[in-house]
Subunit: 295 residues, 4 copies
């Protein structure tokens, strides 16, 4: 397929590279051009504007937050203006359900299609084409862009016709990961202060009821207190918890654990840890218990 790709951060660059490996023709755009050049070396066509990346059948955007997605989508030089009638915008960014609804409407009005396809997985998984894709949109359109999902992920979950549902599921998933970081952080602060070895403790957990990637990955980072290099920054963790809280406000669902996580991330940012991996949030309990600060 002829695919435009907008946003070559840690995640996006790896996803675009896998689209190339799968044989697709990829035209790539990024605000800072150095990332474009790097991907061009792997075979991508460099684009110097958003519009240039919108000449194919589908354009994939993978950006940091609502503001960045709005900036490339709306306005005279944005995706909606540049995309052909009948083409598809696949949004893999973690954005608010409110923005997903706005994008759905804007593309429909322009005779285009919108598919929300946020992904689960850290940069390593993106590089290995092992992401999990959560897709929602009109069934025929989702089917049409399935080759994109197959190139970047190990499995695709199709949720239904409403794109914002995919974003809500993604947001809730990141909330669940953050809640694991916090709970594990509390448990490790507790057993650690009593002298139990944290690695042995983690092995016990992940050999039994907690035998899941989320515990192995984040438990390992916590046990080793290894908060850089940053797979996913604390600032992004805060952003995603705020998305969960906003969705809860719209739907009128109180989320006490998410509220706690919001305050935890704010503390981490205020004390200098905003660019650490978000797992550093789990080290705050040990700090409050008299240990050292994560940042």
């Amino acid at each position: 397929m002829r695919i435009g790709f907008i946003g070559l951060g840690n995640m996006g660059a790896a996803m675009a590279a896998n689209l190339l490996k799968a044989g697709h023709e990829v035209t790539a755009y990024n605000r800072s051009p150095a990332k474009v050049a790097a991907l061009a070396a792997e075979g991508a066509r460099p684009a110097t504007s958003v519009a240039e990346a919108c000449q194919g059948d589908v354009v994939v955007s993978m950006l940091a937050n609502d503001d960045a997605v709005e900036a490339v989508t709306f306005g005279g030089h944005g995706i909606v203006a540049a995309l052909s009638e009948g083409a598809v915008h696949v949004s893999s960014s973690t954005i608010s359900t409110a923005l997903a609804e706005r994008l759905t409407g804007a593309h429909a009005e322009a005779g285009q299609s919108f598919v929300a396809a946020p992904v689960f997985g850290r940069p390593e998984a993106a590089a290995a084409a092992k992401l999990f894709v959560v897709a929602a949109g009109a069934p025929a359109t989702v089917a049409a862009v399935t080759p994109v999902f197959e190139a970047i992920g190990q499995r695709t979950f199709v949720l239904g016709e409403d794109p914002s549902a995919a974003n809500l599921v993604k947001i809730s998933g990141n909330f669940l990961i953050a809640s694991v970081i916090e709970s594990l952080g509390e448990a490790m602060a507790l057993v650690g202060k009593a002298g139990v070895d944290k690695q042995q403790y983690l092995e016990l957990l992940t050999s039994t009821l907690f035998d899941a990637p989320v515990y192995r990955t984040y438990g390992g980072l916590l046990a080793r207190e290894e908060f850089s290099p940053t797979g996913f920054a604390a600032t992004l963790g805060l952003k995603d918890v705020k998305l969960a809280l906003s969705a809860g406000e719209e739907l009128r669902v109180p989320l006490p654990v998410a509220s706690l996580l919001r305050d935890r991330f704010l503390t981490l940012l205020a004390t200098g840890g905003g660019e650490l991996d978000w797992s550093a949030m789990g080290a705050l309990t040990a700090w409050e218990a008299g240990g050292k600060a994560p940042a």
Copy 2:
């Protein structure tokens, strides 16, 4: 081995039955004698007092809480008074670290040994001899009673010489399970109110980062709103969260998620759900979001 067994509740009865199946000679005691009769039908010798169950090499106790363990251990008719010098008390109950320390001291003074061996697993796992055993105590003693662990569980983790560390790990593990129930309950209330199917949501979670028994078991109960029959009662969940909070107070470790769980369990008990499965706690968010109460 000649093994006494004290406490034939859901868990204890299954564990004692597996000791019988493994060929051990089991003398069983329970406060209400009907449970003793049931086990006698499977080959156990019935005991009509704690002391009668303390005639062998080892006595295993599996009781509901600190009070119950204290009641059978201390005093003129208790385990300490009845057990021979050199014999071993294996405590599988989920008790406070403070009581574990007291038991360690009392048995040592009486020339006996004490091993803490709390277990992870619900009644189904106990029946299938698939428990995970977390054992701590003097290495030679732990080695001596390993046949007990092999008969009841699928794997034993040996933590070190301090029995109370095993209890702390068990307490922290139950805290982690309860935190999963709460977080999943919040996430399901959120996506459920937006119309996402909870079973499909759970399948997505457990196919990806959250591929662990704890998510499958408790997520399934939550998705089906199936809070009885009771595998582990909400009253016991509250007890265990309080044990975590107490351990945190002794060690001076704040535990904000555990504090939230305490209040959640109190709400569940106050509104009539004390005898429901503790997973019902996870349904409180949906109730607060305008849905129906779990009890």
Copy 3:
């Protein structure tokens, strides 16, 4: 003075009436015209547009939230477009610090002045001209509009040159009131369930350390479980707590009590209490403790 007044809700209508009583010439505008007619009967000149209310030296706006203030301020028919050079916009609404900053800039650009002057007090206090005014802006401008404050309030606190500081103080004050409602609600649920008379309990508190209007007012409503008529709706309480949380996010200050209040208000709204007085939030603990729901 020649004063325009925009927004004749419970609070605004009473404030405008007091400006009339103090001898000012008041031109009043409200989206629904019935309120305008009522005030015209007390001597106000009715305006049928925002612009018509902007012909004097100063225009006061008293509206429900950021959206309402933005709607009357910006655009071709808004306050900024209609106000003369040199005239003053006094904003008494409880709005975000972000919007206060935007208003400051827009009026400065148009050669006008902006003063933030949020008020403390319920509708009874507004009717009695007993509000407390928290004002911030350029000193000369604040001095010039002091007759407005004298007509509506019992005391004015002047904070400094930055209007948004007044809004932050107002937001934090409403947060403190809500925290009193919650804490008192918990305390009353506790002593009430033990059989202590809640009115006697309140008398004890307000005769001693807690001898303040906030305890007498909200404690009385809680003790009598009197959540309507509504002095200040729960929906507005949620709005203000969210303003506090947003300010905390910008400044990177975690606010755990505010986070709890957010979830409490969401629960109240989700269970049908959005139009009750915000004191109803304090009745949620008694509900969770097995009593009846506030709504």
Copy 4:
């Protein structure tokens, strides 16, 4: 009256001195004898044992916690054993409702009377005989010991026949004070980080809705960051919050603000602030927001 007084800490010494000033005959006991000598210089008879202080009509105890009260009350040399039939034990300590119930029973069995009379007020108020006394017990007994209350306080609130109700009210009052410390601490961290002067902010609050001693006292300590000398130690604050949580557990009342306070005090203790005034707890938010730690 002939009054025994047990416990000459900051509070007790001042109370006993006021009993002397009011003309009572006071026999004083304290575990460390230096405090007894100091009071003897003001006219008290020194006692070298609890029993010696129990020879009069009434004995007042004012001690730090449940353990200390149990230690002087029970056993062969305790108050119950030493007090004459018909004499009265007035307990002014802040103790659990459970211990109050046990004391009521033990004194009744010994033909003695028990009155719970916890007090509100810091050491300055105790020195000035300006405490507030909350008394509960048999009406005739309460009436008989009223001269004690008149000598130490400015007002007495009589709650009813059940002594433990007075303790519950006291516990809930300390919880409310701690909740003010926390809420004010959050509000001051917020406005302070935006550059608002904290003393001016406090003056605004205490001139309006928050015109109460609790805001003036604790707000002043927070605004000046003056956490020593210690009027009431953080360790005692934690003790009292735990008493509130325990009472909530018995009565099945969730107390989310109290749970938060528990974790806050634990953090303060774990980071070295246990002997600071409990108002230091309110400085934790500013610390988490990137400021300096209170200890």
